[in-house]
């Protein structure tokens, strides 16, 4: 990642950035939008960004600990990613390439809007390819393609407090975190088994970060929980309405809670993806007609596309080889 961004202050710099934006990778479906004049680089003012960075430093220093920060009013409603967008704004640099995921897809409203927001206010390159991105803001999913040390994940978090609904008092929650007093969350899992026969929590599955802090992994499916563990990328979590930031630094152990006789397990499907045939990605069920027709496709649109491209090129190569073999035949 490019280190803390240099603010774009004068018109000459702006023009440079516009040039960069013009050369947006063709993989990005959006046409490079014009930079909107009159905003500071990445929308937030520099003091706000410094404040968020200070909180982020603390969050990284204490993995999983919820750091309060002065959440700002953003030009989108709470629940649409105000926390994630502020974290992204605070750490994005001119040379970053941004990818935004919403429910695994790059083409849904929220993803398109947030991507365009940063293209307009920061003039950064945007992409839909996980491999090309240096900064990935996400809601609900971790990309299927393994992340690298050069990437940062930013998660949009609606409710950062995993003890929410179990302990209504915020002061008491903080005390429980301070004393690592996490019996309550086991009670929740116990109730799950009582009522459903297994731990029925399938998203926002509570984790212990760095063997210390109980954290909410944001509403990602539990399928993605193992990806948080020892991930080479820096993972930042922002909750705008609740005004909390937390982080999972690179290569930090993250353990999903469970019982000895009911171990943690991820979802599995009897199907393969109807488009790319993948059997090890998270599948969405799509209803295709009004007669009960349905198909299962990869939730990660970029991963699905990559798989199909790889298959096509393999077929094409195979075809060429067959053709070549045919020509060689006397």
């Amino acid at each position: 990642m490019n280190s803390a961004s240099a603010p774009v202050t004068d018109v000459a710099d702006m023009a440079d950035v516009t040039d960069v934006a013009d050369t947006v990778t063709p993989a990005g479906a959006d046409a490079a939008p014009e930079i909107t004049a009159g905003y500071n680089f990445a929308y937030l003012d520099e003091q706000t960004k410094r404040m968020i960075r200070r909180s982020l430093l603390k969050a990284v220093a204490i993995p999983g600990y919820q750091v309060p920060f002065g959440s700002r009013e953003m030009p989108l409603p709470y629940g649409w990613g105000t926390g994630g967008i502020q974290v992204t704004a605070a750490i994005i640099g001119q040379h970053d390439t941004l990818k935004v995921i919403d429910q695994g897809s790059d083409e849904t409203t929220n993803a398109v809007n947030i991507r365009r927001f940063f293209a307009r206010t920061a003039g950064v390159k945007t992409t839909q390819r996980t491999a090309e991105a240096t900064l990935i803001q996400s809601r609900h999913r971790v990309p299927e393609r393994p992340l690298t040390e050069k990437q940062i994940m930013v998660y949009q978090v609606p409710m950062p407090e995993p003890l929410f609904r179990l302990e209504p008092r915020v002061s008491e929650c903080r005390k429980l975190h301070a004393l690592a007093d996490y019996g309550l969350i086991s009670v929740k899992l116990y109730e799950d088994i009582v009522r459903h026969g297994s731990i029925a929590t399938t998203y926002d599955y509570p984790v212990i970060v760095n063997n210390r802090y109980l954290s909410s992994p944001s509403p990602i499916p539990k399928f993605d929980n193992p990806k948080l563990n020892m991930n080479p990328a820096l993972q930042l979590f922002g909750a705008g309405r609740e005004r909390r930031l937390y982080a999972i630094p690179p290569y930090t152990p993250v353990k999903s809670l469970d019982f000895d006789d009911h171990p943690f397990d991820i979802e599995r499907w009897p199907h393969a993806c109807a488009l790319c045939g993948s059997r090890d990605s998270f599948l969405d069920e799509v209803i295709v007609d009004d007669a009960g027709g349905r198909m299962f496709v990869c939730s990660d649109s970029d991963y699905c596309g990559e798989q199909r491209a790889a298959q096509e090129s393999a077929t094409a190569t195979a075809g060429q080889q067959t053709a070549a073999a045919g020509q060689e035949r006397p």
Binding site: L179, V187, E191, F259
Partner: protein
């Protein structure tokens, strides 16, 4: 001579200029049931809450003998130690079972919660222990997955007792455990408490305004009035030969059947 479990000396608690309880001193021994009786507003509950470290004391000393045999100064105990103590060696039975139970989770989870809080991570074992305890407090083990609201008042109180005893505590505080129950249920609960305290060699400090409960349950009795202990002694001795005028009034005002 047996060592006491809890040493209370000159314990005082004030609410501004009003007295909560003043200069209370006593020793509590392992396996002993001590009842505190007195009228409403006499400082019984204040004393109980101060002893259970729920409200901070203003003066005096409070010492507790740990299982290792060393004395712990409870008034200067750190928060984590206090919580650990409450969870492993102490119990607190609330007057209203709704305060002591978690309404949104099943009976089994309520009994199992203290176990999970001290690190039990095996669902089957937690459940078995919960079922055993339901059996011991005479609840139907088939109802282990029902919510507390599905149980009657007396059953909820027994559920709360099971939840408190599951970690095998040495000292249990009870705040009017039989108040609000009808007489037959009360008798059954008292019987159960007597059995459990003797079986488990449990020390219990019971606050009650009911002299009958005190006579059945307690080995020793303390009578409180205006925040002061006015008389203390063996239960039968105090009730059969009350010395203090207030105790005499209290004993004589019990309705004969």
């Amino acid at each position: 001579m047996m060592e006491p479990l809890l040493k209370v000396r000159q314990l005082s608690k004030r609410y501004g200029s009003r007295i909560g309880c003043e200069n209370v001193s006593f020793d509590m021994y392992p396996g002993e049931v001590l009842c505190v009786v007195g009228e409403s507003g006499s400082g019984k509950s204040t004393l109980l809450n101060t002893l259970a470290l729920r409200t901070p004391a203003d003066a005096g000393s409070l010492q507790y003998a740990t299982t290792q045999g060393d004395w712990l100064d409870l008034l200067t105990l750190s928060e984590p130690r206090r919580r650990m103590l409450m969870r492993t060696e102490w119990g607190f039975v609330e007057q209203n079972p709704r305060d002591g139970l978690r309404a949104a989770v099943s009976a089994g989870a309520n009994i199992g919660e203290p176990l999970m809080a001290v690190g039990a991570r095996h669902y089957g074992q937690i459940r078995d222990t919960a079922a055993q305890w339901m059996d011991r407090v005479e609840l139907d083990t088939a109802r282990i997955d029902e919510l507390p609201a599905a149980f009657s008042g007396g059953m909820q109180q027994r559920l709360q007792i099971a939840r408190n005893l599951v970690t095998n505590p040495r000292l249990v505080f009870m705040d009017e455990p039989t108040a609000g129950l009808d007489v037959s249920v009360q008798a059954r609960l008292l019987d159960l408490l007597r059995t459990l305290t003797s079986q488990l060699h449990l020390s219990a400090l019971v606050v009650t305004h009911d002299i009958g409960v005190a006579r059945l349950l307690a080995h020793r009795l303390m009578v409180m009035q205006h925040g002061q202990v006015v008389e203390a002694g063996l239960t039968d001795q105090v009730l059969d030969d009350p010395q203090h005028p207030y105790t005499q009034l209290l004993v004589s005002s019990v309705l004969p059947v």
